[in-house]
Symmetry: C2
Subunit: 424 residues, 2 copies
Amino acid sequence: MTGKTGTTSRRGFMRAGLAASVALPALAAQARAQGGPDPLITEVQDWASFMGEGVDATPYGLPIHFESDVIRRNVEWLTADTISSINFTPIHRLDGTLTPAGCAFERHHSGAIELAKPDYRLMVNGLVERPLVFTYEDLERFPRKQAVYFCECAANSGMEWGGAQLNGSQFTHGMIHNMEYVGVSMRVLLEEAGVKPEGKWIYVEGADASSNGRSIPLEKAMDDVLVAFKANGEALRKEHGYPVRLVVPGWEGNLWVKWLRRIEVTDMAVESREETSKYTDTLADGTSRKWTWVMDAKSVVTAPSPQVPITHGPGPLVITGLAWSGRGAITRVDVSKDGGKTWETARLAAPGVPMAMTRFYLDTHWDGSEMLLQSRAVDETGYVQPTKDALREIRGMNSIYHNNGIQTWWIKEDGSGENVEVSA
Amino acid sequence: MTGKTGTTSRRGFMRAGLAASVALPALAAQARAQGGPDPLITEVQDWASFMGEGVDATPYGLPIHFESDVIRRNVEWLTADTISSINFTPIHRLDGTLTPAGCAFERHHSGAIELAKPDYRLMVNGLVERPLVFTYEDLERFPRKQAVYFCECAANSGMEWGGAQLNGSQFTHGMIHNMEYVGVSMRVLLEEAGVKPEGKWIYVEGADASSNGRSIPLEKAMDDVLVAFKANGEALRKEHGYPVRLVVPGWEGNLWVKWLRRIEVTDMAVESREETSKYTDTLADGTSRKWTWVMDAKSVVTAPSPQVPITHGPGPLVITGLAWSGRGAITRVDVSKDGGKTWETARLAAPGVPMAMTRFYLDTHWDGSEMLLQSRAVDETGYVQPTKDALREIRGMNSIYHNNGIQTWWIKEDGSGENVEVSA
């Protein structure tokens, strides 16, 4: 593989030289155009002559200003309502699998509240032997677990039900992030309180005005749900539920209650607003699927894509993207350049991790002609990511949530990209 | 384990109640002291009544202000020289294994320079068939690799050679970070240039004024060295070598050249300043060990520790820390409460990852008496982290670098901690 790429890339660089020079400062561009020496190589630069900035200036650092466009973004018409807002992770500009907390999407129903650790309380009540209230310090005294999980909003890609809408992977697939969490097992807290035999569900709610109450079957709660207080090594960010949020591996983001305030053990589901009028999937006949918690296998090509055009000529090209499944580990990702007619199996950067994001690469040669780029994820259960049309056949057109259909980017001869749909 | 902890922790909480209340607002404290209702539970709080902050305000977010003390810190007398500075990761306040880029230690020899991607060039020259110069865009067209690695300064814990010095794990062990990198294999770039048979070493240097030139054996360069452009998903931070740095898995941080400018293939080591007068280990007889690249297995208890005292009474206590080895994966970590007389095997949060940090926990019960806390790492080669005295016997007292000796924290009855040494 490397050998082949090596060969093609050598040819690539000869052609790439001029294309790349366009981006260079005038002097260098002129020199290279004339085939003369490149001052960026031949001349001693200021940055090699003078002292750079000390880091004492940035005890907690931010990205360099050159990267100021790698930020969360909103879609105006989606967030007209100021009480409830969504923003999107710039997945088109990231690589690897982790999402930096600073640009990790967040969606809230009544704003990101400010809740100090000394003011934090977590109540466990309902069908338990010993109703309990924990302080933040109490939680830190229980055994902790650590794992990387993706958190995807059920509405991610929801705009695509009606056909290609938003022009970029940040907007079509950016309501997702992937972080390393540390917290206490929900199981441990429930065992501390002692669940009565009649207890079959838990009802969880947050300390914000929306409370965002949701019901979770006891079986899931006792399995892998975390009461988390760290993400990517540090305390949760304010907008991600500081100081404590729920982590519900593989399940829709709305269940990942932020500023977690209360866990009530119940004998049946509460059927709250967030699980009846919202977060249910209305079918063609007007009836709605509910309890559609699991996020099915899904993937997207992050680059090239509408926000990340190809800026060089024909030759070596890395096509990359992300894949994930709420049912386990990603085992394979296929990439198509012709809208799904033919597929090539991509290279996974690392073996799939259950309910976490997996980075895939297709190291290929671009001949300069247009492409209809698609990716198709397969998970350990054998589930294969479906086309949007296949989803519509079963779910109709009334849904907002759980659109895990295959995304298509039309990459044109000039390297620019556009969100399109191709019919099978 | 969980069962046992569950039992002890219930007792713990009854005692913990009052201790915790000290930190509460007056009203709540008073109420709890009187055994009355806690208004933080019984009264509707402002944050549950009013709209929180929208996140549009923070397109790239920072930690909440309550965490403003979780930052990189300097040690004045270590950084009197303003041209060359070191700062330390707040490992005492982190959990999990990853280090957020914003508080990941950085050490530089002539400041953190500002180098834009269009101005970036990487030269590969010396004993090669085809001398090459890559632009940043060229590098993005090669196959990419992804992996998590620790980067530790060879001088980390160096102040401890003379005995207990700095009072906190941030200062004794904070010259380390652990991130997920994405980049191109050095092997691929060298194959692109074509290494001549006489080529046995590479000499790498950065674009900053110090250039920080170092020699690396070709065998290592062809093995797992990365020319990296992403860390923890996003572009490298300015202070970590934006736009391109070297990643040399398991080897001392000084080799991880930042703002990478040149890779020269040579027939012998250059014996540069950074590998002769610096980064060599002077022994008792005045001779110096050189080419001591690998960071041996090491660990430290991050909490409780001098910067993170125990703030509650006797009962359940989580003792946690980090372990790593430049020779492979961590397979076991033992913790001692009595200065090394007796040991308990800690729980690894996840299986050890080669040349990456591993989080360990000892879920225990604190009886309220003083402790001499130590941790001892074992890696997949069977190497056992030595005591400081054992290191001194072999290396003498002249060394600055490669101190991987066992650290001791004296945790007193009042919960406070102090950096001490115990003789075996």
